[in-house]
Structure formats: C-alpha cells, structure tokens
C-alpha cells in the first residue's frame, strides 16, 4: 500500500466544485449515475448484448453512527493504469474552464464526477476492476488531499463500486426517499435497471418506460399514457400531446400543448435528456421560435451538450433538429385541421399567437389556417375568411392608437377595420396578396377616413363659413386645423385626428410642465424645431344638431366657449391626455357656458 498526496490543494478544488460547477450538493447522485452510465455504455460497446445494471445501497449507519452509501455498476471498470490517469486528471484540475474541458473524455469525467462526492462525504472509497482483466484496485481518498492506493485480487466481477461515508450535516442526502427521488429524477429514462437496496427494502426505481418507447394498440390508451406522463413530468393537465422525433440528433420525445396562453416574453424551457440522462429542466433553443404553445420532454442520443451541461450546444445538428421538431408540430396542427376541428378551435383560442407566428413565416401553413385565425376589428373579433365574406376591401390600421381613434366613426360608416397593431397581424395581412390573389388591402387612418366625409352643399357652406373662420383662428395656437363636413354617427359633434408626430409633441409639451430648464431644452431639441404645419385636425360634424346650432350663433363669447369645449371633448374621445393649457380651456369653457346660460335665463326672466 502506498500513501500519496495530491499536488494541488484539494480543498480548493472541492470548494470550486461545490460553489461553481454544481448548483446543489445533490448533484453527486447525478455525477455517480453519469459515471455508471459511461462505464456501462463503454462495456456494451465491447460486448454487444451485455446487460448493464446499477445498484445503490444504503446499508445504514456504521459503528460511529454515520450513514453510508454504496454505488455499484457492472460497467467497464478501470485498470490500474487508468486509475493513475484519473488521479493525474484530478491533480491537474485547478480552474473552472479546465474542468469543463476535461469532462469531454471518459476518464476526466470519472474523476471530476467523483470529486463532487466530497461535498457530502469526508472519504471516498473506490473499488474497481476492468472488464479487460487484471487485478482490482482500491483507491481511498480523503478531503484533506491524501489518498492511498492498493491492488486487490483478480476474483471480483468487473465494474466499479463507490463507497461514501456521510459528512456531519449531510444526513438528508443519505435517506432512502431522497436518493430514490434523485435517482429517478436523473436516471428515470435509463434503459437498464437502477436498484435501490436498504435494510428490508429492495426496489427498482426506473421501471416505467416513457410513452414514446411503448407500443400502443389503442389510440385512447396511448393518449391517456402520454397525458399521464406529461402530468407527472410537469404537474399540469395538458390540452393535447404531440409525439416528437428527429433523425438528426436521434431525438424522441413528446410536446405538450399548454392549457393556458403563455406570455410572449416568458422563457420557453424544456426538459431534456441526453443519452437517457437528465441534462436540464430548463433547456432553451430546442424548438423554433414560433412554437411557444408547447412544453417538451425529449431524449437525444446524438446532440452535443454545452460545457456547463445546461443545454444543447447551438450547432448545425441542433438547427436541423429544431427544424425536424418544428415539422412534427406543424404536421400535428395540419392534421388537426382535417381530423378534429373542435380541438383545433380550442387550441387556437388559447394559442393563436403561436399559430400566427408560424403562419407569418410559412405561407402554405397560412393558407390552411387563414380560415381559423382571429383578428380584432371594430365590429368584433373575426377570421379573415369571415371578414372577406362581408367586405371587398380589407381595411386595417397598422397601430393601436390609430385604431382607437377611428374605431367608432368607421363602424358607423359600415367600414370594418382590422386592428393590426398586434404582433404578426400586419405581416399576415401583407401575405394576403399571395393567399387570395386579387385581394385589395387598404390602410386606414383618421386622415383617410375623414377625407371620405361628405362635403357641405353650397348653401350649407355659406351657413358655416363664419363659424369655420372663427374656429380656425381660435385653434391655430394649438397647431390644429378646422373644417366642417358631414359624417355619421350624428351624435359625434367633432372628430380630432393627428399624426403620430403631433401626439409626440403633445406629450413633450405636457412633460415640459414639470421638467427643469436643462431637460426642457433637451426636450425641445428632441421634438425638433417647431414648424408652422398644423399637426392636428378638428373636423366638425354638420349632421350634429349642436354643431348646426353653434354655426348660427352670432354671440362671440358663446361661440368661443363652444369651440373650446368641442375641441377638448374631441381630444378626450380620441383618448388623449390634456395639457395644462387644454385643461384650462375645458374649465373655462364649461364654467363660461354655465355662466352664459345663467345670464341668459336671468335676462329672459327679467
């Protein structure tokens, strides 16, 4: 027997591992399992038909009352010279980057995996014998950096056994329930038995196979099996499931349709296994961007993990896998469109954003789904097919503000307008040219809408001329033009429209009411030099009885007050915030009218 000491400060390495590489001490189970898997894979490679097996034994407390754990596999084992190599690996490992790199080879992974056990154990004993023959070797390492090495006989079965003795404070990690939970968590998909053995206790923790590895004769049984598996994986009752497969990356799995509408900004994470071992529960980049309506669990035999083993490495293989999985989802949706429209409608009600995202990128798909995708209009939500049944020209506003501004007026003129301010909507509308050849699209805003308003007759124009001139003069300081037209609904006395630029200027003016001199000067520069152009337009409705009366009023005060109030009311109708000056107009206008009315009544009484 020989005593050795590592060249490096093992304490430092352990600290590095526990604080940086491993998020929690529990990962020692993952690491030991990974080592066992690697060993079994290597032996299967040498001896086709070989059946691997992993046993985790919790023999109970030793004489000193410390619990222990024995982890055993019948994999390829290590020869004496390989043990020296792995020791050399540990000896050289001092930086985090190097640790990640060294994982790439089997021996390196073995050594680094073992070190993680020091987080829960003062001493690690490894007994290993190579399937290539030779004597068994026992390595006994301690966290103070010393270790002993000795050669045993040649009668042991090939494989590796790791014995851990619980460090005070780590008892919870040596309990049957905790170990079972972790073994199942990381190794639940492994295709050979993991047995858990304790006094008066013996079980196999990974009995059940995932649904995509089972054969089903009955569609309903298959459905129940998939949904039940999803429920256990993610704790949710999903709407539906989609089996996933990709030849590239050798990927199998299942996607589950979320029973709620996910937020666009939420990270889309999935549960992924690599070679049957859990790699991550929060992997990203597995599906195309549009597929945010599902949550997946997949097992890949042939993708590369990132150095931190949190996800798959972004390379050509992953890109092709992503495409293949996207095709599975697309085929599922297209299939649903011909077999189960009821379920499809339920899905679209929740996930139309996702479907629209795909349709925006995939014309053929859009063609199939156009009849189901909902769009918001000023006459309620409808599909484009329903829309086209009623209207020749597809009218839309490209942003929400404009939609709000004109929704009511347009509706009263029987113009159905789509609010294309939502994600993908404008993009989809432009694709209509290809889907419905000959379709006519028209962008609508307050300007174009009011241009179609009916002009006054010559007589009417004469009737309104004085008033119009007066209103134009009054509104000029507000950079607002005035005109009189006829439009419906008649209960709207005036419609205010403005360009996006004008809205911005209004905000700037309002903000300058509170900012200091420096910031006010910055805001002036942002808004640019003031121009003489009128940015807004107030269109009085000659069909409105009040406007009609006001046009005939000769009294200067009453006229001024009326225009003020009509202007501010139109601003409010368009959901605009009032500046201090406009607020003053409103107050003055209202009070003035009340006063004027009271005076009139008084005069009439006298």
């Amino acid at each position: 027997m020989t005593d050795y000491k590592f060249q490096v400060n093992l304490g430092g390495v352990i600290d590095l591992l526990s604080n940086h590489i491993y998020s929690s001490p529990q990962v020692f189970v993952r690491e030991l399992l990974q080592n066992a898997v690697d060993a079994i894979v290597a032996r299967t490679h040498r001896e086709p038909g070989f059946r691997g097996e992993v046993t985790i034994e919790l023999p109970g407390a030793d004489a000193a009352g410390r619990p222990s754990l024995v982890f055993r596999d019948n994999g390829v084992g290590l020869t004496e010279s390989e043990v020296h190599r792995f020791l050399a690996t540990i000896g050289q490992t001092s930086k985090r980057d190097e640790l990640s790199e060294r994982r790439a080879d089997f021996i390196g992974q073995f050594g680094i995996g073992l070190l993680s056990c020091f987080v829960v154990s003062e001493e690690i004993v490894v007994v290993t014998r190579s399937s290539a023959g030779g004597p068994a070797v026992e390595w006994r390492g301690r966290s103070d950096g010393t270790y002993t090495l000795k050669t045993l006989g040649e009668d042991a079965e090939p494989g590796t056994e790791v014995r851990l003795t619980c460090k005070p404070g780590s008892e919870e990690h040596f309990e049957v329930d905790a170990v079972r939970r972790l073994a199942r968590h990381y190794g639940g998909l492994l295709p050979y038995p993991i047995r858990l053995v304790a006094p008066a206790h013996r079980e196999r923790v990974n009995e059940e196979r995932p649904p995509w590895e089972q054969e089903f004769d009955d569609k309903d049984v298959e459905r129940e099996a998939y949904l039940e598996y999803g429920r256990r994986m993610f704790g949710a009752d999903f709407l539906d499931y989609v089996p996933l497969a990709s030849r590239v990356g050798d990927v199998r799995g299942a996607a589950y349709v979320l029973p709620y509408s996910p937020s666009l900004a939420a990270r889309k994470t999935h549960r992924v296994y690599l070679k049957n071992m859990l790699l991550s529960e929060t992997a990203e980049g597995l599906l195309p961007d549009w597929a945010f309506f599902v949550k997946c669990v997949v097992n890949a035999q042939d993708l590369r993990p990132t150095a931190s083993r949190e996800s798959f490495y972004e390379d050509e293989a992953l890109a092709q896998t992503r495409d293949a999985l996207g095709r599975c989802l697309r085929e599922y949706l297209v299939g649903l469109a011909s077999t189960d429209v009821v379920r499809l409608k339920k899905l679209i009600a929740l996930h139309y954003m996702s479907i629209k995202a795909l349709a925006a990128a995939d014309e053929e798909f859009f063609r199939i789904f156009v009849k189901w995708l909902p769009f918001e209009t000023n006459m309620g939500t409808m599909t484009l097919t329903e829309y086209r049944r009623e209207h020749d020209v597809v009218r839309y506003t490209p942003d929400m503000d404009q939609f709000r501004q004109i929704a009511r007026v347009a509706a009263s003129q029987s113009l159905c307008v789509i609010n294309a301010g939502y994600s993908y909507d404008a993009q989809l509308l432009l694709k209509l040219y290809e889907v419905f050849p000959g379709v006519r699209l028209s962008q609508v805003d307050g300007e174009s809408l009011s241009r179609a308003f009916e002009y006054l007759t010559l007589d009417e124009e004469e009737e309104a001329a004085d008033f119009l001139e007066f209103a134009a003069r009054l509104l000029r300081p507000f950079r607002c033009a005035a005109e009189v037209r006829k439009f419906t609904p008649g209960d709207i006395p005036a419609l205010y429209t403005e360009t996006g630029d004008a809205q911005f200027r209004r905000t700037v003016e309002k903000t300058k009411e509170v900012t200091d001199a420096f910031w006010s000067s910055v805001l002036d520069e942002v808004a640019g030099a003031a121009t003489d152009d009128e940015a807004g337009r107030l269109c009085f409705n000659f069909r409105n009885p009040v406007v009609r009366k006001v046009c005939r009023v000769q009294d200067e005060t009453l006229r001024r007050l009326s225009v003020q109030v009509l202007y501010v009311q139109a601003l409010l109708l368009g959901h605009r915030t009032l500046s201090a000056e406009e607020m003053r107009l409103l107050n003055e206008g209202m009070l003035g009218l009340v006063e004027w009315g009271a005076d009139a009544v008084e005069g009439w009484i006298q």
């Binding site: 985090r96 980057d97 990640s100 937020s263 666009l264 900004a265 939420a266 980049g285 961007d289 990132t306 150095a307 931190s308 949190e310 972004e314 390379d315 050509e316 890109a319 942003d399 929400m400 503000d401 709000r404 301010g421 939502y422 994600s423 404008a426 993009q427 432009l430 694709k431 040219y433 699209l441 962008q443 911005f504 905000t507 700037v508 903000t511 509170v514 900012t515 200091d516 420096f518 910031w519 000067s521 910055v522 805001l523 520069e525 942002v526 640019g528 959901h575 915030t577």
Partner: protein
C-alpha cells in the same frame, strides 16, 4: 380598450395592466404602458403615475422607441427632484444609462446638450455617492460614436481604471464592453480571447451573448475563419431576430449573410425587419439598417447582375412590387441614397464627415466576400 372599467379599484386595474405589459414586446407593450400612464394620470396618484412611466421607459427603450423613453424619463427625473425621498434612487440612476446610451442616436440633439446631459448624470451619480466609472464609459461611447477616436481610446482606458459599484454594468456586459473595444481597435484575436467567458463559459444576461456573437461576424470573415462565423451566426441570429431593441445587431447578420452569399436568408431578414427599421425613431438604427440593405443589394447585383431578387416588402416600401421581384441595382441605388441622407444628418450634428466617410467605405466590405 375596456380594461379601465373592469376593476373596482382603479389602482389595481393599472397594476394589472402593467403586469400584462411585462408579458408583451415591442409596440404592443409600449401601447399598453402608454394606456396605463393615461389612466394613472387621470387618477392623479403620483406613485402610480411614476410606476406606470417606469414601465413605459423600459418598454419604449427595448421596443425601439427611444424618444418616448427619453421624454418619459425626463418626467421621472423631474418628479424625483420635486419629491425628495419618495422614489427609489438606484433604479432611476440605473435607467439613466439607457437614456445617455441612446441620446447620440438622435441627430437633432446637439453635441452640447449631450455633453451637458453627461455632466448632469455625473452630478447625480456623485451626489448619490456613486463612482463615475459608468459615466466615463458613456463619455467614451459618445466620442467613439462621432469618430473622435483618440479621445475615445483615452476615455476607455480612464474608465477601465475606475472602481465598480452597484450601478456598474453586469459582469457579462463588462466583458462585452471590453470585447467591443478590442473589435473597435481591430484587435480581433484579443477580442475573441476576452470573449471566452461569454462564448465558452456561458456568461450571459439580457443582451449577452446576443451582442457579442454579432460583433464577431465580419471580423471572423476577415480572419478567414468562415466556419466560426457561420457558427456565430447560427447561434446569434435567433437571439436578436425581431428584437426591436437590438436592431443594430440584426444588421450585422444581414451584412454577414450578404457577404457569404446566403441571399435567400438575407432577403428574408431584410423583408421581415424593413417595416420596423423604417418606423423606429432611432435614426442610428435606421441608418445602419439602410447601410446593410445597401450592401445586400450591391452583393446581389454583383453576383446575379440584373436578375431580380425575391423580397417580401411591405406596401410602404417606395419601390413596392406586389409580385415581390426587385432589380438589385435599383434597390442598391435606393438604399444607398437613403443611407447617405441619414449620414448627412449625423455629420451635420457631429460637425465632421465621419458617417459619410464610413458609408463610402461600405462597398469595400465586398472584398472579404466569399462565395457560397
């Protein structure tokens, strides 16, 4: 929008809207945040107005509407000054970084105002007991922006020697800042070395590795490391695609695709980002996009002559064609003129011809072009 009537308690209704805005992106998020501001103003509760505007600044800055972020932020600062102790100072000072970061992108704002703003920021940081590292970093960026290279380099090193504090950028952004500097100095190898914690170590944040990967696309082509450039593109493009706050980096990918002759992908990128690029009020982003689109058209013309390229452009595109077929030479002429128009605006403000000169050099990028 009828939310305003759904809730009995209007404050809760506004909070709920703000939460909803959090789950959105781009214009929609800005629209909902603006609506929340409108309702809050009507309610007149200062704290609610403040909160709603904080959300609006965030939504606007990351949604490609920096002018809205700037105006809204000036309101926050004003209320902060008027009501001592009422609002959280750290988050307000943190947001200042976004504002000075985008202020150079407005050619209508004079250099003098930008310097004054940096001084205002410095004063506030000092009064709050913070160091000036962050402010110096932004002084460096400003000089770099208008091509004052010598001063930029001096300021970069000065900033690097100052201590960090709680308002400093996150570790990933700090690394990316160094990377960006070395790429600027055309020391690409050094940049790649510095970027290792991001590229290999998984260091990340809201915009890293997105920005880091994009920065190296052209440098890697210059170094003849095509496979890596391709890998960076494949990794990086999904991170920035459609992100309105990161349009400048989308432009890097458009340049990359044009140079390696992936015309189909380049055309898709151009078509799907054009509408936003021409709508954003960030004129620097728009300038970079036009420049990249120009290069794309030039390379397409060079490879295919007058053969039309297939592009899906919105109907607002001045050369709009319903069939989606465009003569690359006409495209090149259009984007070239459009890019020079904006370059002239920046040069007028900057008092030099840095933008125009840089634009004139753009076609020479084709020399590193590699056929597919």
């Amino acid at each position: 929008m009828s939310e305003e009537f759904e809730d009995d308690d209007p404050v809760m209704g506004i909070y709920r809207m703000l939460l909803r805005a959090r789950g959105m992106e781009g214009d929609e998020r800005v629209a909902v945040a603006e609506e929340a501001v409108r309702l809050a103003d009507r309610l007149g509760e200062l704290k609610v107005c403040f909160l709603a505007r904080q959300e609006l600044v965030d939504a606007a800055f990351w949604g490609g509407a920096p002018e809205k972020a700037l105006v809204t932020y000036s309101w926050l600062l004003a209320q902060f000054d008027r009501n001592p102790g009422m609002f959280d100072e750290s988050s307000l000072l943190w947001t200042y970084k976004w504002i000075v970061n985008s202020v150079c992108d407005f050619p209508q704002i004079s250099k003098q105002k930008i310097y004054e703003m940096l001084d205002d920021m410095a004063r506030r940081y000092v009064e709050a007991g913070r160091g000036l590292r962050v402010v110096e970093q932004h002084r460096y960026r400003a000089e770099r922006f208008w091509g004052n290279r010598e001063e930029a380099v001096r300021l970069y090193h000065a900033a690097a020697q100052m201590p960090s504090d709680d308002l400093s950028n996150c570790p990933a952004c700090e690394v990316d800042e160094r990377v960006s500097f070395h790429v600027y100095m055309e020391d690409y190898e050094r940049g790649l070395e510095e970027a290792r914690p991001i590229l290999e170590g998984g260091m990340s944040c809201r915009t890293v590795p997105h920005r880091t990967l994009s920065r190296f696309l052209v440098p890697l082509l210059r170094l003849g490391r095509r496979d890596e450039a391709r890998e960076f593109h494949l990794r990086g493009y999904p991170l920035v695609e459609g992100d309105k706050g990161l349009l400048t980096y989308v432009c890097d990918h458009l340049i990359y695709l044009s140079l390696v002759g992936e015309d189909g992908k380049a055309a898709d990128l151009l078509g799907s980002h054009y509408h936003f690029a021409e709508r954003t009020t960030d004129l620097y982003h728009r300038y970079l996009f036009r420049r990249a689109a120009w290069l794309f058209s030039e390379t397409a013309a060079e490879r295919g002559g007058p053969a039309p390229v297939r592009l899906r452009m919105p109907s607002t595109f001045p050369l709009f064609d319903e069939g989606g077929l465009y003569d690359p030479r006409r495209l090149a002429a259009h984007f070239k003129r459009a890019a020079f128009d904006l370059a002239a605006k920046f040069d007028a403000r900057n008092g030099n011809d840095y933008f125009t000169l840089r634009l004139e050099e753009t076609p020479s990028l084709k020399d590193i072009s590699v056929s597919p």
